[in-house]
Amino acid sequence: MNWINNFVRPRINSIFSRRETPENLWHKCSACGTMLFHRELSDNLNVCTNCNHHMGLTPRARFANLFDGGVFTEVAVPDPKADPLQFRDQKKYPDRMRAAQKGTGEKEAMLVATGEMGRTPIVAAAQDFSFMGGSMGMYVGNAIIAAAQEAVKLHRPLILFSAAGGARMQEGILSLMQMPRTTVAVEMVKEAGLPYIVVLTHPTTGGVTASYAMLGDVHIAEPNALICFAGPRVIEQTIREKLPEGFQRAEYLLDHGMLDRVTHRMQMRDELITITRMLINLPPAIKGDLPPPAPEAEAPAEANSTEPPAGSAA
């Protein structure tokens, strides 16, 4: 044995004995920079445990928490014509779409589902900011129309979680036409006498804010969410002055009368249950752990236990 054996052997060993560890065990909070353990972060619904910064949450993760036992049924959304304008900037629109689909594992920027939330039957729709900035094109329009039709058909309240940079430019005028189209959808729900509740999450801007996101019976926002029509940069360029701290953030909009409430994500579900049940005249929700909803729906019991007991939400 000479020195070289000693030097080489550990390296060879390490190749065979490398432990299987998943990547990204730790996430850095985008606001305060604290390193957060992934399980702790997902248990806290992607809210930083240090500074309460609300990070993005995919529709699937949101629904897993929102619906009883994480059980929901997806509502089919009619497929629109793909790439209606044959749009091409530096990349082709279909290529951007494929990249987004690959990156998120989702088909498009909105997910619609039915299910029960604290034993309250609802239809929910959630926008996916990680899919091309949640942008509103024909598919998102179709999804909202499908959600509204489902709500009317099943006679259930509609809860919508918005998150979008605005209209999808790659669909040009057709993305703009989703403003009236989604407004028609909201009208259908309202005419049926059903509650339409909007939860505005970070960010909700542009044509999305100027249509279905601002037409709710109740507007609830997540803390510090950017909610606006024109973005702060555009405004600064136009008026050439610095904007005040917190401008266009949820709390600012609450102060200016555009929102009903600003609610922490961990308390959102309970609040939605309370409000919805009152609006559709149901008795108060039973607090605490509940058995899985329907016998045929197999609810994983542990999904419920990840939530705090309802009574602790203050």
């Binding site: 209606p84 703009l176 200016h256």
Partner: protein
């Protein structure tokens, strides 16, 4: 004095020469230049037709924004009688970017609402370049609801770069005001017809143009974002507005193909700014035709007509 656009430079040269020649003839008596001047006129006319025959999308944007193009006020003055402006949103202010009120179209009383950009520096500032604030949309909502109550058809004239991106506008709920205006357009039980006479800029235009029938002037534009804005986001270079204008399909002709609008109103040779009267008359005929199309429908039918139109929109894409 005509204001020439950059692509009209060769035309400006020829017309300038003809003008010079005529001025020369006026000072030197006995000099006969009429033959040459007429030849130049003919050449200019042919060039004008040629230039405008197949305008590129970006050139259409330039024409749509031409300062001499007839504005909302010109249309209201020429097409309607007894125009009585109604002001204010009953809440905060009167927005001068939006004008509207009662008027008669022929014998028929209607509510007319539109964006006014202004014609000179002073009036442009007064009208905020046609960029409305929440008060403007709320005034429009009030007028639309009034029209609905009294059974008056609504005519909207769209000409706006977009809703105003300002601090106060955001604080007072620009997005909510636009959303509510779109909702009002869909709700009212009276015919609503809309003409895009210049720029149809994004949400600010939708708030007025969610109509039973939408027409566009031949060289007007209607888009989700300005070509400059689109270029700076997708190309990371605002100078790529020509490419963006091309890609966005914002011309009346493309929107007709996409089924977003119902008719294209032909403009006089060389654009509406060269013969305002003719353009205004053509718009008048289109409004009459669109309104008579909707005659005899009751409230429920009118509302349903609008809803179905928008629910179906976008089914076919450009290929159809």
């Amino acid at each position: 004095m005509t204001q020439y656009l950059d692509f009209e430079k060769p035309l400006a040269e020829i017309e300038g020469k003809a003008e010079e020649l005529r001025a020369l003839a006026r000072t030197n008596e006995g000099m006969d230049v009429s033959a040459e001047a007429e030849a130049l006129d003919a050449k200019a006319a042919a060039m004008l037709v040629d230039l405008y025959k197949d305008l590129s999308p970006w050139r259409k944007c330039q024409v749509a924004r031409h300062p001499d193009r007839p504005h909302c006020r010109d249309y209201i003055e020429a097409l309607f009688t007894e125009y009585t402006p109604l002001a204010g949103d009953r809440n905060f202010a009167d927005d001068h970017a939006v004008m509207g009120g009662l008027a008669r179209l022929g014998d028929r009383p209607v509510m007319v609402i539109g964006h006014e950009k202004g014609t000179d520096t002073k009036s442009r500032i007064e009208h905020n370049f046609g960029m409305a604030r929440p008060e403007g949309y709320r005034k429009a909502i009030r007028l639309m609801e009034m029209a609905g109550k009294f059974g008056l058809p609504v005519v909207t004239l769209v000409d706006t770069p977009g809703a105003y991106p300002g601090k106060g506008a955001e604080e007072r709920g620009q997005s909510e005001a636009i959303a509510r205006a779109t909702e009002a357009c869909l709700r009212i039980g009276v015919p609503l017809v809309s003409v895009i006479i210049g720029e149809g800029g994004s949400g600010g235009a939708v708030a007025f143009a969610t109509a039973n029938r939408v027409a566009m002037l031949q060289h007007s534009i209607y888009s989700v974002i300005s070509p400059e804005g689109c270029a700076s986001i997708l190309w990371k270079d605002a100078e790529k507005m020509r490419e963006a204008a091309e890609a966005l399909r914002l011309t009346a002709q493309d929107l007709m193909k996409l089924g977003v609008i119902d008719r294209v109103i032909e403009e006089p040779s060389g654009g509406a700014h060269r013969d305002g009267k003719a353009a205004i008359a053509a718009v008048g005929r289109a409004i009459e035709a669109m309104l008579s199309d909707l005659d005899g429908k009751d409230r429920a039918e009118i509302v349903k007509d609008r809803r179905t139109k928008f629910l179906k929109m976008g089914d076919r894409g450009l290929a159809a």
